[in-house]
Structure formats: structure tokens, C-alpha cells
């Protein structure tokens, strides 16, 4: 790659090349799906042809989007997603009797090569966008840390608010990404969280300092896959307005920039998440429950569901 001297131009020109590649491949898939199928070792039955045509339409859409916005990382990430689809299709074809596995293998190798390029270009572009938006650069190991600060006021006494948080096993009741927190002893606890793509991560944490009922700070133990630390400060709000909760989180996302970008695609952006989590924390303390509506977000119409559990699951309160 020649991008080191002039990464800004290099980024865009690689994106443009990938955009044209998308359109070229898409055209071949749309116009000559039969020949293409045979070339990559698939049988050209109507199902395969329909699938290739659909993939072709997707490629052309992505390519056009990249060419009209070569500086936008989002469409390059869409290409990465498309590559994953292609690879899964090819890999599943390997198991069938009626395919030419040598040709399929070559096709998979080619797609893997393109995927690597797509990943590199998308990651660079995301980094560039973050810099342009003044976000901290997360290229180097040390500066990968994400720092989030949020405050909320809860109409309850400081002792009650502190006590609820200090019982760490309560945290999964309002932190959507946490599956469980298990208290091991007075200081140490084991945390289990949902990661993107249905995976889970676990780590151990210890409380490093606390002063009842004013603050708690913790950090993950050496050797944790996700290095993280945090603190929460409680203060009496003026004029009997309850308790102010100031949360500060510092963590290194899994797999650095790429992990964060993938997390973003899955709606797991930590800043939004903590805001939502704190609203739930407030609801649990003030109301004793997290209000659920039939239409959480814009994911389904505001309409009853045949099975209420379906809505509770979508709203993330089923635990």
C-alpha cells in the first residue's frame, strides 16, 4: 500500500477502487450469474442464480454508495458485511456434493483477500472520521481507551442510591450489556457481558476505593480481556431534589477500533448505552420497574404482540 506517505488521499483512492470493484462484480453477478457460478465452482441451478443476482444488486448498491461518499466509513463497513455473507455462502457450498471444491477454494481465497482490503480501508476511514470529529485517536495501544462521563439525578436518598449500586449484583438489572455480576468477596467480583455477534466476555474486577455513601471506584484485574475501570460519585442534589449520580467509565474495547466500529453497527455504542442504562437505574429506584412500551425504538409498531414476552425481550427487560 502506498498510503503511508499520504494517508488522506490514499484512503479515498482505495475506497474508490473498492467501489468500482463492487460495481464490476455486481454487474457480473447480475448479468452473467450462470457463467460466474460455474467459474467459482457452483452449480448454476435457479436458486444459486437468484442468490447471485441478489448479491449482485447488493454489490452495485454498496459500490454506488461508496463512490458517491468515498470518505464515509459506513459503506465500507457494509462491504465488510457483504464479504462475510459471500464467505458464508461459499463455505456452506463446500459441504455439498455437486460443487467443484477446488474452484470454490480459489474463490474463497479471493474473497478473503478482498475482505482484508475492505477491513483495512474501513478501519482507516473510521479513524479518519473520528479524528475529523475530534474524537481521541485509538490507533496506539494506550490511546484506545474510551472514556464516558454521564450524570443523572434520582429522586431518592443518597443512602438508598448508593446502597443499590454498591450491591453489584443489581447492576445487570439496568445495564443492558451485562448478563451477570457475581460477588466473590468484599472487594472482588466476576462480570459477564454480552459482546457483539452473540458472544459473551467475562472478567474479574475489584473495588479499589470506596467511601460510603459518596463514591465507589473499581477496575478490572490484571489479565482481563477487556481492561476497564470506572467510578461513580453520589451527591445530595440541592433543594431536596434527590441524589446526583456521576458515572465515569474508562475501557478498552475488544479488538480496538474495529471492535468499537462493529459494536456501533450493532447499536452497542457505549455512550448511548450508558445514558440508557442510567435512565433504567433511575426508573428502578424511583418506580421499582422499567416501563415497557409496545414500540421500543422504531423496531416494531406500537401494537400489542401475541406474546408479551416478545416485547419485553425486545425492550431488554427480560431477565
Amino acid at each position: 500500500m502506498h498510503t503511508h506517505r499520504n494517508p488522506e488521499r490514499g484512503d479515498s483512492s482505495l475506497a474508490v477502487a473498492l467501489g468500482w470493484f463492487s460495481i464490476g462484480l455486481g454487474a457480473a453477478e447480475l448479468l452473467a450469474p450462470g457463467q460466474l457460478a460455474r467459474m467459482i465452482g457452483l452449480r448454476d441451478d435457479p436458486r444459486v442464480i437468484a442468490l447471485l443476482r441478489a448479491f449482485g444488486a447488493r454489490e452495485i448498491g454498496t459500490g454506488t454508495a461508496i463512490l458517491s461518499n468515498p470518505d464515509q466509513a459506513a459503506w465500507l463497513w457494509a462491504r465488510v458485511g457483504g464479504d462475510a455473507l459471500d464467505l458464508s455462502m461459499l463455505a456452506s457450498a463446500m459441504n455439498r456434493q455437486d460443487t467443484d471444491n477446488a474452484r470454490l477454494g480459489a474463490a474463497i481465497a479471493a474473497v478473503l483477500g478482498v475482505t482484508a482490503l475492505d477491513l483495512q480501508c474501513a478501519a482507516q476511514m473510521t479513524g479518519r472520521q473520528d479524528r475529523a470529529r475530534g474524537r481521541p485517536r485509538r490507533g496506539a495501544r494506550r490511546s484506545q481507551d474510551v472514556r464516558i462521563e454521564r450524570a443523572i439525578t434520582i429522586n431518592r436518598s443518597i443512602e438508598e442510591v448508593y446502597g443499590f449500586w454498591r450491591n453489584l449484583e443489581n447492576l445487570p438489572r439496568f445495564m443492558r450489556h451485562l448478563e451477570s455480576v457475581q460477588v466473590l468477596d468484599a472487594k472482588r467480583s466476576r462480570w459477564r457481558a454480552k459482546a457483539p455477534a452473540g458472544m459473551t466476555v467475562e472478567w474479574e474486577a475489584e473495588i479499589v476505593a470506596e467511601r460510603e455513601p459518596e463514591w465507589i471506584s473499581w477496575r478490572s484485574l490484571e489479565g482481563s480481556r477487556i481492561r476497564n475501570s470506572g467510578s461513580v460519585r453520589f451527591a445530595r442534589a440541592p433543594g431536596a431534589r434527590g441524589t446526583e449520580v456521576h458515572v465515569q467509565l474508562l475501557y478498552s474495547p475488544p479488538a480496538g477500533t474495529i471492535g468499537r466500529s462493529i459494536a456501533w453497527l450493532f447499536g452497542e455504542e457505549p455512550d448511548w448505552q450508558i445514558r440508557d442504562d442510567l435512565r433504567r437505574f433511575k426508573q428502578l429506584l424511583e418506580v421499582g420497574e422499567v416501563a415497557v412500551s409496545e414500540g421500543p425504538g422504531l423496531r416494531r409498531p406500537a401494537q400489542p404482540a401475541a406474546n408479551p414476552e416478545e416485547i419485553r425481550t425486545l425492550a431488554g427487560v427480560n431477565r
Binding site: G242, Q283, V287, V292, P304
Partner: protein, 389 residues
């Protein structure tokens, strides 16, 4: 069950949807006996409120019989006859404790959407966009009512549905608009819009001691109703110069308080001068604050402009200079219905007001699509439609 569902601009359809179930411990399920179409539902019907989704169940004015209760509701029993307030409020946050129920901090699960448009989020509202919670509405056979221990009030059997249904929204809304004026003896109040909220604002202004109420609209049948049923003097803005008429009717002082019961879809009045010039520009916006602008300009110095009509986003050509230089007070808010239900029920029981006077049409729930159309186009002298499942 059958439910009135939103499917796009001027597209409302009756659909079979699943019956609602308990989702939170403090929920109640209500079998709807009467529901109504609100003027603010027409903003949804016209596609002016963002974050609607095809299939959303509409309706925020409804009442009925409690048929199921969550474990957390102790003050209601199955079989109770209740009216449900349109704002959803938890009863425990700071805003609820201050009786600012429509600002409840805990009842909008989609608060982040409202924060993007308005800075902070108000409460959730039944059947009124995902930005305001994504709650299924009450123009249906059954409705789920969250925080049922805080909102619904039991109503006596001696009163008909038509007499108490409007405690859910338009009676308290008109009442709060009048209350926000801080009416003093001798005050004259002008009300823009003679729809149901305008009519209740007129009635309420008299209940609160106004000397005279002047109603402004362009539909003769609505002005007639404001005069005959609510006791207002009237101005038809298509036939008279509102400014000249108001000066004449107030001895040259101008109305002490002005109420905007029109909202974001005001029609440009055919009057002379500056208003006509801005009229064109207003058509470029989503919110057309024609009534609001006129209410501000017409209000006497030191008076109050009270906004009951719904505005959604941003307006321009807003006469801030008049507000600052003439010490006007601007008051508004989604109605804190919970605050008013009991006192207003008391007024109904004592015979001080019979809210059923606004009803012009009684239809079956399955006729909702036709009812929306009729209400929007002011056909058949329509003022208020009640739907019965």
C-alpha cells in the same frame, strides 16, 4: 381485537391485532367502552408528527372497564369503570411530585428520540408516535394502561361515558389553557379555534371568572356552537378584521388573555397587512403558527398568551419583540391531566358543566377511518366524534 391503526398520511385502517397483555407490574388492561378522536390525532393523520410507524395503534382519549391488573396495582379492582389520562406518568419522579405529570421522567422508553428534537423528553403518551414512547393507543377494543395506580380515575355509575370521557384530555386541556391565563375579575379572554379544546377553554374561562370570552374561527357552525353552547361572542376571521373587531369588543384595550386552541395546522386568516405577507412563507414550514402569531399581536400589554394547540417543531416569524416590549407572558405545556381529573369530575358531578355538549357524532369503532376523514374535512358539521367498540 380490532384496533385503529396508522398506515401513513391520511391512511387509517381497522386491523385485527393481538389483545394487549400485562407488560409491567403496575399495568392494567381496560376494555374500552368509549374512545374519541382528538384534534391532535389529525396531526398524526396528516403525517406531521415524526417517528410514527405503520401499524401503530392510535388513540389517547379513552375509558372503559378494568379487566386485568398487574400485581403492583392496589387501588383498582377488576370491574372498575375508569377514565384514563392521555399522559403516562409514574407518580414518583420529581416532576410527578410537583404535579407536572406530562413531564414525567420515567414514562418514555424512547426518551432519546424526544431528546434529539426537544432537548429533554416529556412523558410518554398513548398512541402518539414512538418519540413519545411507542405506546399502543386506545382506539381499540382493549388497551394496556401503564402506571395504572397513578393515572386512571374511577367514575360514578350515575354519569354517562359522554359526560366523563373528556376528562382524559380535552376538558382538562381547555381548563389548563384558561387556568394558565390567571384570570382576574373583569378580564376578557380571546380564544382562537372553536374545536373541542377551544370550546372547553371558553367554558373554563367563564368557570374561572372571565367577564367575557371572544371566540375566533372561520366555520359558522363552530362559531354558532361557541356562542350558543359556551356563551362566547364570536368573530369569523374570514368575514371580519380580527384586530378591528377585538378592539371594538374590548373598548380598545385588547383582550387581557389570548388562548391558541389551534396549533400547528392553523389556516392563514384572510386579513390585511403583514399577516398576509408572511402567509406564503409559513406554507414552507411544518408548523403554521398563524393563530399563535395573531394571539401574541392581539394580546393587551402585560397580558398572557396561553398555548393549548400542539406544536411539533420549529416556527419562524415569531413576534418576540411584542413579547419582550409589551411584557407578555407565554404559557404552554402538554396538559398535566392527572392534576385536573378529580377537581373537574367534581364540577361535572355538581352540574357546573356537562362536557357531552361537544359531541356531534356517535359512531362504531370500526367506522374510525371514515370518522377521521369526516373530522379532518369538517363534514356534516363535525366537532367531536365518539367511537364505541
Amino acid at each position: 381485537m380490532r384496533a385503529t391503526c396508522w398506515y401513513g398520511t391520511q391512511n387509517v385502517q381497522m386491523r385485527d391485532v393481538p389483545d394487549p397483555g400485562i407488560l409491567n407490574p403496575r399495568d392494567a388492561i381496560v376494555r374500552v367502552t368509549s374512545t374519541a378522536i382528538c384534534g391532535s390525532d389529525l396531526h398524526l393523520y396528516n403525517g406531521l408528527i415524526p417517528t410514527m410507524k405503520r401499524g401503530d395503534v392510535l388513540g389517547h382519549e379513552f375509558m372503559g372497564e378494568v379487566v386485568e391488573l398487574g400485581d403492583g396495582v392496589k387501588n383498582l379492582a377488576v370491574g372498575d369503570r375508569v377514565v384514563v389520562p392521555f399522559p403516562i406518568a409514574c407518580g414518583h419522579c420529581l416532576q410527578c411530585e410537583r404535579e407536572m405529570y406530562s413531564l414525567c421522567e420515567n414514562s418514555n422508553p424512547n426518551a432519546w428520540m424526544a431528546e434529539k428534537l426537544w432537548g429533554y423528553s416529556p412523558c410518554g403518551i398513548f398512541g402518539y408516535s414512538h418519540m413519545l414512547g411507542g405506546f399502543a393507543g386506545g382506539q381499540a377494543e382493549y388497551a394496556r394502561v401503564p402506571f395504572a395506580d397513578v393515572g386512571p380515575i374511577k367514575v360514578p355509575d350515575g354519569l354517562s361515558d359522554e359526560q366523563v370521557l373528556f376528562l382524559s384530555d380535552i376538558f382538562p386541556t381547555g381548563y389548563m389553557a384558561a387556568e394558565n391565563c390567571g384570570i382576574q375579575p373583569g378580564d376578557i379572554v380571546a380564544v382562537w379555534g372553536c374545536g373541542p379544546v377551544g370550546l372547553f377553554a371558553i367554558k373554563s374561562a367563564y368557570l374561572l371568572g372571565a367577564e367575557k370570552v371572544i371566540a375566533i374561527d372561520r366555520f359558522p357552525y363552530r362559531l354558532r356552537m361557541a356562542h350558543e353552547r359556551a356563551g362566547a361572542e364570536t368573530i369569523n376571521y374570514e368575514q371580519a378584521d380580527v384586530h378591528e373587531a377585538l378592539l371594538e369588543m374590548t373598548g380598545g384595550r385588547g383582550p387581557d388573555h389570548c388562548i391558541d386552541a389551534v396549533g400547528m395546522e392553523g389556516h392563514a386568516p384572510g386579513i390585511v397587512g403583514a399577516y398576509d405577507r408572511v402567509k406564503q412563507a409559513m406554507m414552507l414550514e411544518t408548523d403554521r403558527p398563524v393563530a399563535l402569531r395573531q394571539a401574541i399581536m392581539e394580546c393587551r400589554s402585560g397580558g398572557t398568551v396561553s398555548v393549548a394547540g400542539v406544536y411539533g417543531g420549529f416556527i419562524d416569524k415569531f413576534p418576540m419583540g411584542a413579547i419582550v416590549n409589551r411584557s407578555l407572558t407565554l404559557k404552554s405545556g402538554q396538559t398535566h391531566v392527572h392534576r385536573y381529573m378529580r377537581p373537574l369530575l367534581g364540577r361535572i358531578e355538581r352540574g357546573e358543566i356537562d362536557p357531552s355538549f361537544v359531541v356531534t357524532h356517535r359512531m362504531r369503532l370500526h367506522e374510525a377511518p371514515a370518522a377521521y376523514d369526516m373530522f379532518l374535512n369538517k363534514e356534516d358539521e363535525c366537532v367531536k366524534v365518539i367511537l364505541k367498540p
